[in-house]
């Protein structure tokens, strides 16, 4: 029996192939990632950081990174842990060992969402076509991550650089979000 486990298919693959190059508002699909939702009480929150390799940020709406791993604060007891594809089994094992007996929840959501990068001088402007947040650097600095809305979809919006954002969106909304971004950046093409 053929092993199909390496045949991951992106929900926006066809859009990526057809996307025009727009320097001031570039769109790209991010590589597949491993994702976990971590929830827990204080003891587990403290212990989870060292086990994952990135301390869980306690400041609201911020993310922290170490190496190729990232933790996003999504709520006062909710974090999104992300890592390169294939790291899932090790993460489950490491956290299980570190958090034994500490109430928490760790759920694999690697395939639930996908990442889209929007970059360029007009990136914020394009995202503001559908996102009602103030994306000025003061209100939405580099290092910020939050759930929000984009048009009629819910997204997680992350600012990784002054002119670069990452959008994490549930799989079935990705087509809508991508099309919306294309429409929004059309005037900058």
């Amino acid at each position: 029996m053929a092993d199909l486990s390496a045949s991951r298919a992106s929900a926006v693959a066809s859009h990526v192939a057809a996307a025009p190059k727009v320097a001031v508002a570039d769109l790209g699909a991010l590589p597949p990632r491993t994702r976990f939702v971590f929830r827990g009480r204080e003891a587990a929150i403290t212990a989870a950081g060292p086990a994952f390799g990135v301390a869980l940020p306690r400041e609201a709406c911020r993310f922290a990174e170490a190496g190729d791993r990232r933790v996003l604060w999504l709520g006062p007891d909710e974090w999104l842990l992300t890592a390169p594809e294939g790291a899932g089994a090790a993460i489950v094992a490491d956290l299980a060992a570190a958090l034994a007996g500490l109430p928490h929840s760790l759920v694999d959501v690697s395939h639930r969402s996908l990442g889209i990068a929007v970059s360029g001088a007009m990136a914020a402007r394009v995202i503001n076509n559908g996102c009602p947040l103030d994306l000025g650097l003061e209100a939405f600095p580099v290092g910020m991550a939050t759930r929000t809305v984009f048009g009629k979809a819910e997204i997680v919006l992350v600012r990784t650089a002054e002119m670069r954002f990452e959008i994490d969106v549930w799989r079935s909304f990705a087509d809508y979000v991508w099309r919306f971004l294309e429409e929004a950046r059309r005037e900058f093409a």
Binding site: A2, S113, E183, E187
Partner: protein, 1002 residues
């Protein structure tokens, strides 16, 4: 007369860029920088429309947003057609196609003008008075006729071909309006470094400064000063400058709606650009610098083409180099009329006379007018005009000291200017729910106290003198920036302004005319054809509230929202009721400030972006197979998979039989999934669902029922216990967000002490249902680490392992009544696993089936669908799920409500089956059921059909229904009355196939 009224020099038009356009099919010429109105005036055209009710010929009255008459339809084809645009705001471009409205067959000969002769029959409120009887005629006759005759403009006959975008923006200071106050405010705020947005509805910043002939600021002509100020603002990257952008609405918490017209002024459009862009601006502070609107004067026949506002005439002459006439009579209530007269005289217009309502005119401007040899007549009114399609005479008469009006003298003219005084534009302030106060000296309402974080500057708060306006604007801009948290203050700055100050004198109400009021049409509201007489009639008929008078007479309604008419209407009411203006009140200023396209509100939300279209990982495969899809909430689900020549009925019959006889494959990925994890997971499930969960073994599945607190079924689904502290919960497709919201609500607000957490995994898993007697044989070769044998994996159990190397949660579960499995695999791998299973099923004739077949298969088994059998008023017992309620449980959501006596009353609607006597007849879902078809109408209804299908395996039609006391009626005959006749049905158990459930084991 083409071009005959274009001045040889001056103005802000670009004579090097001539443009062609058509109006009502006639070709005209204009220049870049013209509006449609200014170009028409330069061509000598004033007649541009017919009035709403009387179809009287109407001309251009204003030069801006306040225009009540010159409404035009613009667009070369239906897909680009916009009705009801104000010609005064339509920028000219080469090839512009415009047409007049509300006339037939033509503008100069309009059959509807017969209404004018019938005017005595059409007083205020004539709709309400006339079309009363017979009542039935209203819908069949009066309403259609009135609708056909009334209305402004026509809707375009094709879908809008343009694009519209929307944009959220944030700033510390939003300045609305770019006249002297707005520019000064923007300069001050910009200097502090905070984010500033300056918007103006016109194509050029500068507002009134663009129409000044003599004004000088800081040594520069006013328009040049404005250009310098804009240049200074352009150098700052904290400033966003938006021309052609109307602030149309002031929404709570300082959200301002701006409508930017991006491409309408371009003859050739850039396909990358939207036609319009909605800016939803959240501003920390707002400076409203909306200016003022000149009031017309209400006098008889003041609506003939050629009668216009004095400042508008000045704008046409000074800004557009378009002479509005050859010989003008100016009717004024203040010095503004003199300023207009002087400017027009300088442009070569003969000023026949200035009629000044005031007993004396003593200021600098009247002095200059007299020195220029103009015939100035104080204490003088205009009692009427003559002329058919253009004014040809104005009748001037003295107002005697006792208030009576003397004999009129006819003064020949082709232009009558009205200068009734300024009305501050308080629309946005009023929309922000700020409180207005009456200023007796200005005879105007001005902003008094704020609710939102805004401030008004300049003429919109009654400050008119140019130097004061600039100072006020700068002050307000500076204060706004400070209030918004600017860390540096704007440097103090003063402006040296020299301008002709027209003061603040004005008049509200109706000017005296001494004529028989029954035959004098003195218009208050041009757009709605409301005269002074109509308003007085309303007061005589007992109306006192200005809001009632507005609705009864329609004054101040329609597209201009009373910009020119409100204050005069108030004055007339005040006069008629002998009550001060302040005691009468003021009508509400409603958004939008000017009409706004539907397109800008729809924005991106059309076509493919109207709503997210959610598709499953397997969608592409189904589409390639030619599946028909149906919408289920936002999802597209494969409805059925027709073979060539098959209709839905045939395809579904084939798919059903394939599942019953061999094996079918179904995409169940849209099922909602929630992972409930934590030491208290079982306790939480106990509280949320009716079922008992504590004893559910790891690796076992259970069908769960969820109620609302009122005891009615809200959702259901199969739940798997994957570990002591981990449940895999499934919900209905449409119910997923609702169920998670409800669970989070209880968990966060009622039981925050529980150590359990919820994570949506709907999109993590693709779900492939493999159903039918051969299902096990298809899957067995593909799985590793999972024993599919009945002993190892009995019905309602779960296993984890891999399928085709892909990790899976494999459930043995059936929604068809056949041996069945649901293969959960990570979503991005859903399609490859699906294809592998499909290939492995080929020897068994594996058949993909859609939601329609799924519905039929479950109905044959009597399995309910929440939302189809239930309607929010069904208890578990009503739909035959009493067995799923944990009787021994102390509490769960909805349990207390189930204990109410009425929730177990014997007459409740209960789930039953229905079989038609004719097996070919398929009942209509939703049809009502009666016990006695001979009962008089309205018959007592005993229930309704909830599901109904032709069942291939049963060989006849089947139906599920909710019937009062249904379980006690099994065996009885009931009736379904339909338009084609009454259908007798037999009440049965709601299971039509394999009632013992033997097929679950294959």
């Amino acid at each position: 007369m083409s071009g005959g009224f274009r001045l040889a020099a001056g103005g802000r038009i670009d004579r090097s860029r001539p443009l062609r356009f058509t109006f009502d099919g006639r070709s005209f010429r204009g220049f870049a920088g013209d509006t449609l109105a200014s170009a028409l005036i330069a061509e000598g055209v004033h007649l541009v429309g017919r009035s709403f009710k009387y179809h009287r010929p109407r001309g251009i009255v204003s030069a801006g947003a306040d225009e009540p008459n010159a409404l035009v339809g613009v667009g070369a084809d239906e897909a680009h057609y916009t009705p009801n645009l104000r010609a005064t705001q339509v920028e000219l471009h080469d090839g512009l196609v415009a047409e007049s409205q509300n006339r037939w067959p033509s503008l100069s000969f309009d059959v509807g003008a017969v209404n004018d002769l019938a005017a005595p029959l059409l007083p205020a409120g004539f709709y309400y008075k006339t079309f009363m009887w017979p009542q039935r005629a209203w819908t069949s006759f009066y309403e259609p006729k009135i609708r056909a005759a009334a209305g402004l403009g026509r809707a375009p006959g094709a879908a809008d071909a343009d694009r519209y975008t929307q944009h959220f923006a944030h700033c510390e200071v939003l300045v609305i309006g770019s006249g002297p106050a707005g520019l000064a405010a923007a300069l001050a705020a910009a200097e502090t470094g905070v984010r500033v947005i300056l918007c103006d509805e016109q194509p050029e910043f500068g507002g009134s400064l663009l129409a000044e002939r003599e004004a000088v600021i800081d040594g520069l002509p006013a328009a040049d000063w404005a250009a310098a100020a804009v240049a200074e603002l352009e150098t700052r990257d904290n400033v966003t400058l938006l021309t052609r952008t109307t602030a149309f609405g002031y929404f709570p918490h300082n959200l301002i709606g701006l409508a930017e017209r991006v491409t309408d002024h371009l003859g050739v459009r850039d396909p990358r650009l939207p036609r319009e862009r909605l800016w939803q601006v959240r501003a920390a502070e707002v400076v409203i610098a909306a200016g003022a609107i000149e009031r017309p004067i209400v006098f008889p026949e003041n609506d003939r083409p050629g009668v216009m506002l004095a400042d508008a005439a000045r704008t046409y002459s000074n800004r557009y180099a378009a002479k509005p006439g050859e010989r003008a009579v100016v009717f004024t209530a203040g010095d503004a009329g003199y300023r207009a007269a002087l400017d027009l005289a300088a442009a070569g217009v003969t000023i026949a006379a200035i009629a000044d309502l005031r007993p004396a005119a003593t200021g600098a401007l009247p002095a200059r007018a007299r020195a220029a040899g103009i015939d100035v007549r104080t204490a003088t009114t205009v009692t009427g005009t003559r002329g058919r399609l253009r004014v040809s005479q104005a009748h001037l008469a003295a107002i005697k000291p006792d208030g009576s009006v003397g004999a009129a003298e006819a003064v020949p003219c082709d232009l009558v200017l009205m200068a009734g005084g300024a009305t501050p534009s308080v629309h946005l302030f009023s929309q922000s729910r700020g409180k207005l106060g009456w200023n007796e000296a200005l005879k105007a309402y001005v902003p008094e106290s704020s609710v939102e974080r805004e401030r008004s500057a300049g003429a919109c708060r009654g400050v008119y003198e140019l130097g004061a306006v600039l100072a006020d604007g700068y002050d307000k801009g500076s204060a706004a920036a400070k209030a918004a948290g600017a860390t540096t203050a704007a440097a103090s700055r003063s402006f040296a302004a020299k301008a002709l100050d027209a003061g603040s004198d004005g008049f509200i109400g109706a000017a005296p005319h001494g004529r028989n009021p029954a035959f004098a049409k003195a218009f208050v509201d041009w757009q709605n054809d409301v005269t002074a007489k109509d308003i007085k009639l309303a007061t005589r008929e007992g109306f006192r509230s200005i809001e009632h008078i507005k609705r009864y007479t329609t004054t101040g309604m329609a597209t201009d929202q009373g910009k020119t008419s409100n204050m005069n209407a108030l004055g007339i009411v005040s006069d008629a009721l002998k009550t001060p203006v302040t005691a009468i009140g003021l009508t509400t200023f409603r958004m939008p400030y000017t009409p706004t396209t539907f397109g800008i509100f729809a924005g991106h939300s059309r076509g493919a972006l109207f709503d997210p279209v959610r598709t499953t990982p397997i969608h592409g495969w189904a589409a390639e197979q030619g599946a028909a899809f149906e919408d289920v909430s936002l999802w597209k689900r494969a409805h059925y998979f027709p073979h060539a020549g098959e209709d839905m009925h045939a395809a579904v019959a084939r798919e059903c039989l394939a599942v019953r006889r061999s094996v079918g494959i179904f995409d169940a990925s849209t099922l909602g999934k929630i992972e409930v994890v934590g030491p208290d997971a079982a306790e939480f499930m106990n509280r949320m669902y009716t079922n008992a969960w504590a004893k559910l073994g790891v690796g076992r599945l259970r069908y769960g029922v969820m109620l609302r607190e009122d005891g009615f079924v809200t959702d259901d689904g199969v739940v798997g216990r994957l570990a002591e502290d981990r449940f895999h919960v499934t919900t209905t497709t449409g119910g997923a967000p609702r169920v998670l919201q409800m669970m989070e609500d209880y968990l966060q607000t009622e039981w925050p002490d529980l150590d359990v957490w919820l994570t949506s995994t709907t999109e993590q898993w693709a779900v492939i249902a493999v159903q039918g007697p051969n299902a096990r044989k298809v899957l067995e070769p593909l799985v590793e680490g999972i024993d599919l044998s009945p002993a190892a994996l009995p019905h309602m159990s779960a296993a984890t392992g891999t399928i085709c190397g892909v990790p899976t949660r494999l459930f043995r579960v059936s929604f068809t009544g056949e041996l069945g499995f649901e293969v959960n695999v990570p979503a991005d791998l859903g399609r490859v696993v699906w294809e592998a299973i499909f290939a492995a099923g080929a020897p068994y004739g594996i058949t993909p089936y859609g939601t329609e077949t799924m519905h039929v298969l479950r109905a044959e088994k009597g399995y309910i669908i929440v939302g189809q059998e239930t309607d929010g008023t069904a208890t578990p017992d009503d739909v035959g799920l009493g067995w799923a309620v944990g009787k021994a449980k102390k509490d769960f959501v909805g349990k207390r409500s189930l204990a109410r006596a009425s929730m177990s009353a014997p007459g409740r609607k209960q789930l039953v089956g229905l079989l038609t006597q004719d097996p070919q007849v398929v009942l209509e879902e939703g049809a009502q059921i009666v016990a006695d078809p001979a009962a008089p109408v309205p018959m007592p209804m005993v229930g309704h059909v909830t599901s109904s299908y032709a069942s291939a395996v049963v060989g006849r039609s089947i139906a599920l229904a909710m019937v009062k006391g249904g379980r006690a009626r099994i065996g009885e005959t009931l009736y379904v009355p339909m338009p084609g006749g009454t259908i007798p049905v037999t009440v049965t158990e709601p299971v039509f196939y394999d009632p013992k459930g033997e097929r679950l084991d294959g």
